[in-house]
Amino acid sequence: MRLSIWKCSYFLLALLLVPNRAFAMHIMEGFLPIEWAIFWWALSLPFIILGLRSIRKTIEANPETKMMLGLSGAFAFVLSALKIPSVTGSCSHPTGVGLGTVLFGPLAMSVIGSIVLLFQALLLAHGGLTTLGANAFSMAIAGPFIAYFIFKGSQKLGLSFSIAVFLAAMLGDLGTYLVTSVQLALAFPSEVGGFFASFTKFAGIFALTQIPLAISEGILTVIVMNFLKKYNVSELKALRVFSAKEVH
């Protein structure tokens, strides 16, 4: 019974959030000058290769965590499909990579996040192939790494597990769009004011819109993590998600 309530509210939520008209949120196809497109591709590829190795190692050591890897991918898939209205009067979508980062580390998410981006670039004309390197760097690499360090740092500070998860997912989401702003500002420095003027402009568009969505992503990640804490404690321990203090 409780499961059906959970599921119903989930689908109701999903229905509420699917907008009538879809817009894209990553850097659009062809919108980065070719030298920057190549630069970000070159920077992202090593992370993706290391990510594939990291996933293989985790699955070999803990085959029972395969389902949770699927869950991490599914979570990113759902969240990056939901374009949600924001206080700025425009829409954006969460990234959903925080959950997988806390579970499997940032490198694993560089692969999963890139798969989501590839799907959206090919089937939805959302983002693009030439800009996939840059978009992968912001959403699948920078975001997860920010989330990872925030999570570990919060645990060191002795914050509760839920708060650490919330902060990691929220700031990883926000960080993604700050990095997107940096990428656009680097490629399009303003004639007056240069990089910083452009950065302020792009960050005003992306990052401000993203704040309430980042909070939502943090909350949704905590909800899923609460479930895992209840039903998958052994896997969480195998993945060393808890800090030494929390294990006891």
């Binding site: 409780r2 499961l3 309530i5 959970w6 689908f11 939520l13 999903a14 509420l16 699917v18 907008p19 009538n20 879809a22 817009f23 894209a24 949120m25 990553h26 850097i27 659009m28 196809e29 062809g30 919108f31 070719i34 389902m67 699927g70 869950l71 599914a74 979570f75 759902v78 969240l79 990056s80 499909a81 374009k83 949600i84 209205p85 206080v87 700025t88 009067g89 425009s90 829409c91 954006s92 799907f119 089937l123 939805l124 004309a125 693009g128 192939l129 656009l184 004639e191 402009k201 792009f202 568009i205 993203q210 309430p212 939502s216 905590v222 909800i223 899923v224 609460n226 479930f227 039903y231």
Partner: protein, 90 residues
Amino acid sequence: MKKTLLLLAIVVLLAIIPLFIQKGAEFGGADGEAEMAIGEINADYEPWFESLWEPPSGEIESLLFALQAAIGASFIGYFIGYMRGKHKEG
């Protein structure tokens, strides 16, 4: 369970409140605005590559987005059911 519902309610509110405090706003994509900003900074910039395929209409695009969310949500639902079932057999 109560806590979960409360948290979900906050998420729903965060999405609904903007619709009321920004009445009349377009709620377009933040990326469309970024595109305009690029035009303001560098009016000569021409995108040098086009998407290989684009959904022919907004309706089809939202169909694909809904499908993406549905595929993800189905797996999450399956995961929750599977783990709860396994837990009960314990």
